[in-house]
């Protein structure tokens, strides 16, 4: 249902006002509602808000800036679109390689046996990895279940912020368990040297709660580190940091919650 209050919240968000307290929660609820009018209004209000940028007088950039940008772009090798499939040229080479391999195996039996051994070894290593992955996944799910079923579990909403206004997340937090589970979506993929880092605010200070990556659709399910040292979590935020994380936040905040 669309109302004046909804227009107010959407206007605040569109102009870039940091929503806090009840407004933040209300905005999260609004975004979760099936409201086609709101969904259409928000981008239009953002477009209108961008017109305010015209109020800043233009400035001539330094001569080096353009060169610096163009050089960076020309050295950026990341493809913007998917590479076309290469199956057309692959088959003849594959057949030729297979034929050559078969020929070699027939001629040199010792080489065949060696290769079989290597294959078995590789398969065995692969199976061991899978078992390990399954074991970790099981442990992870067990932890998530324990956190979510804790009798003191709290649910906090994190809204998109700064460069990623569309990002969304929830944190299930247990003060007793000293752990939280973050469920996030709409996060942008990051360059290989960057990771998202979760911060828990305790006594007004951010505490590292671990780093995580997102899947190609921008989603993640991530459990925080064991934060035995903190008494209670006041708020949460996610920043973009160098891979491996940093002791104190340095990068842009992309998700932030509502202080309790």
């Amino acid at each position: 249902m669309h109302s004046e209050q909804h227009e107010e919240l959407l206007s605040l968000a569109a102009v870039g006002v940091r929503l806090v307290g009840e407004d933040s929660l209300e905005y999260e609820r609004l975004l979760a509602e099936p409201c086609p009018t709101c969904a259409a209004l928000l981008p239009e209000l953002r477009f209108a808000a961008s017109s305010l940028g015209i109020r800043a007088p233009s400035r001539s950039p330094s001569a080096a800036l353009k060169d610096s940008i163009v050089t960076a772009i020309r050295s950026d090798r990341r493809p913007a679109t998917r590479s076309p499939a290469r199956s057309a040229g692959f088959a003849p080479w594959a057949f030729a390689a297979a034929a050559a391999a078969l020929f070699a195996i027939v001629l040199i039996d010792d080489a065949r046996l060696r290769r079989q051994r290597e294959e078995l070894r590789a398969r065995s290593a692969d199976l061991a990895q899978r078992v390990e992955r399954d074991r970790s996944e099981l442990a992870r799910r067990d932890l998530v279940t324990r956190v979510m079923e804790s009798d003191d579990v709290r649910l906090l909403f994190l809204g998109g912020h700064g460069p990623q206004p569309e990002a969304r997340a929830k944190v299930f937090w247990s003060d007793k368990g000293k752990r939280g589970v973050l469920v996030a979506g709409n996060l942008q993929p990051l360059p290989p040297d960057r990771q998202y880092q979760l911060w828990v605010f305790a006594d007004g200070k951010p505490i590292d709660a671990g780093v995580f990556d997102v899947d190609p659709s921008g989603r993640t399910l991530f459990e925080s580190k064991d934060l035995a040292s903190i008494r209670t979590a006041e708020n949460f935020a996610v920043t973009v940091e160098p891979r491996g994380g940093v002791p104190q936040p340095t990068g842009p905040i992309v998700l932030i919650g509502t202080p309790s």
């Binding site: 107010e8 206007s11 239009e44 477009f47 961008s50 305010l52 400035r59």
Partner: protein, 198 residues
Amino acid sequence: MNSRRQPEDRDPSDAALVAAMEVRDADAVARLYDRHAARLLGLAYRILGETGEAEEVVQDVFLYAWRAAATFDPSRGTVISWLLVATRSRSIDRLRTRRPLAASEPGGRDPLADLPADADVERGSAAREWESLCRGAIGELPAEQRNVLELAFFEGLTHQEIAERTRTALGTVKTRIRLGLMKLRERMRPYWTREGNA
């Protein structure tokens, strides 16, 4: 005469340049830069008040545009609005990381205090038209609505902070932001519709 210059052919639209960036045409970025870098730098500078940092933001925005060209949706706004929003959010992020320092200074920094006169920058007629529409729309807003919108947009303040700064009730701040932005939306609507259908 048939040999007359045809601007449509020689000056591709911003949206066409972004589409070219999607297929990795670096020249398209250079052309987009020529059109809009001064405007974006002006915005970053107004928020940050420091040229070096403002240029870093502009560089970051063009790299973002290059990498995210495929995500630009012409039905959700113009290229310049897309770039302005990206510039604004990156600048405000930087501003917020240094706000605790600024807050300790008496009176804080006034980012409007040392603005130069508008630079003489070449821009395409479409950009000039859009700017003219924006200026007209913003100019028609009542001063109190324009003021709260600018405090939110350029200084990244929360509505509570705006209420304190303007010594106005919180509810009044929210109402002014809503009314001001809804008016801007109405004035910008023809352009929105035109871009969306282009």
